[in-house]
Symmetry: C2
Subunit: 313 residues, 2 copies
């Protein structure tokens, strides 16, 4: 498994020599495995490791025990550790995740670390793809998580949960178990504990492999389409001729709009497929000049044979 | 609903004036609805309708009753009817489908009909997409059924099962019910009766709409990628330079191979993603000349800096 993770890192250029790497360590099996493997690879990779642990203030005594476990792990392996406890409980899974990433990025800044390693593995990837599928994703949603996304890297993305557990056992490593992982209140747990086993048993024993293959196809398609759209837009930095846009293949029409929105607003947050569909409809219509609000602070404008995106506040 | 079907036909150019159209009539609700609607539209569309009914010889007396029902329908609406009973029962769903299409194509030839109308509707489409997803499809599998595929047209593809049943009720039309539609022995029925309702209830009430949207995105992406690959290949009818191929984006590499196989062999039957993956690996490898069997009668060859596909028998 050590070799496999090393290969993933090399093939995807996840880490450069002399990088400082923050390892997000919850104390669960995945992050313990990741921290241990990166520790064993640190000389070969020529990197420095800093552990980071966030107490979400959601699970009382259990969370205190997690923090204690993480401190002992850091002491055993003589690694610097950054701990933080949230004062206010996050309202839901999403805001919890946002706070975690904020903490990790702050820690990266403090230690001038180039990378933040997250312990997402192949089974997480399968669950992510299925969850995006159910939520109504397009190509990029079905692509799943990337090996690298900004500073975040995912060295375990080619390893299965089974491999991780067997690595922990072989190396006699203990870890903490988060009981909320078994609660069917959370969609992600339902997908893992109910839906995936049912699909495997009743529909296709190969479902896991097939979802991973589909995600690769979607990623490759999306990258190609993104690239083509980018090339087109870079020729027209501030606006696009309506005629040029109208002559594009359907899928490029959407992607070009998505990118115009991203560059016009700095991000694509809260821009959904439904907004793109509405924008496409407006731009394809024969009628004259028009505007469309995409979200409260953003407008797409069609005027005098040109298209552009404008911030409204 | 009449208007909706008319619109689907017009928007997708499914029928031209003076076309003869074979309508596949099983006697079930969908095909009865389709036949009735096309009858009511035939003057407006300027077409002639011929009914065709195949007895698969699988359901004994029930099938005889279906045939009787269909004959009465043809008589009531004064339509020509072509009936056939299979001598040998088909071995499974797939061979049954193959025999049905063979019969429909023969009938089209006999009547010099330009089109064969099938009654697949929006709910069939959703089930098809989900079934392809479970079986491990790529983009074209996730695109689902087309409005038109050769002579086959699907005028009901924008209508839901609910709309069809309400049309039948409003127009006081009777139909036959195939009990095997409720057997959970068949994957398709399990998807319709168990999986889709569970996904809708437990994961996403919008699942149906989302799958249809995803299929449109996949169709548009696939069409774009197909077009780009086709343009590239048409410049190189008999072989491709290895260098040209290697410089392509990942998704075009696959698509170009798929099209080379199709044009080198006449079809892509029994060529699966796994074959393409193996071929890609061989072509990306640094080593020299090489061959790879794609299926028993087909080889992909890399030699002297060129790539081509060869039939081996």
């Amino acid at each position: 498994m050590l070799d496999k993770v090393y290969q993933t890192i090399q093939e995807n250029n996840l880490i450069s020599p002399s990088d400082r790497v923050i390892v997000a360590l919850s104390g669960g099996p995945d992050s313990v495995c990741l921290a241990h493997i990166l520790c064993r690879l640190r000389e070969k990779l020529g990197i420095k490791i800093i552990l980071a642990h966030l107490n979400h203030n959601l699970r009382g005594k259990e969370a205190e025990k997690d923090a204690k476990f993480v401190k002992k792990f850091a002491a055993d392996f003589i690694l610097p550790l950054e701990c933080k406890k949230l004062m206010n409980k996050p309202a839901n899974e999403n805001s919890g995740r946002a706070m975690r990433y904020k903490f990790l990025k702050q820690t990266a800044k403090k230690y001038r670390a180039a990378k933040i390693a997250a312990a997402h593995h192949q089974d997480d990837q399968v669950e992510t793809i299925l969850s995006h599928f159910l939520r109504g994703a397009g190509l990029s949603g079905l692509s799943g998580m990337r090996y690298q996304n900004g500073k975040i890297i995912r060295p375990l993305l080619d390893c299965s949960r089974e491999e991780i557990l067997s690595y922990l056992e072989k190396n006699n490593l203990s870890y903490r178990v988060d009981q909320s992982n078994f609660s069917l209140k959370f969609t992600r747990n339902k997908i893992r504990l109910k839906l995936l086993p049912a699909l495997k048993k009743e529909y296709n024993p190969q479902i896991r492999k097939n979802l991973l293959r589909l995600s690769k196809i979607c990623r490759a398609s999306q990258e190609y389409i993104t690239e083509e759209a980018r090339a087109l837009i870079s020729e027209h930095p501030s606006f696009l001729l309506l005629k040029t846009w109208q002559a594009l293949p359907a899928i490029l029409k959407r992607e070009v709009l998505r990118q115009m929105i991203a560059s016009g607003s700095g991000d694509c947050r809260d821009i959904y497929a439904v907004h793109l569909e509405e924008a496409v409809k407006m731009l394809e219509a024969q009628a004259g000049n028009k505007k469309k609000n995409l979200r409260r602070d953003l407008q797409i404008i069609k005027k005098n044979g040109k298209i552009w995106v404008k911030k409204t506040n």
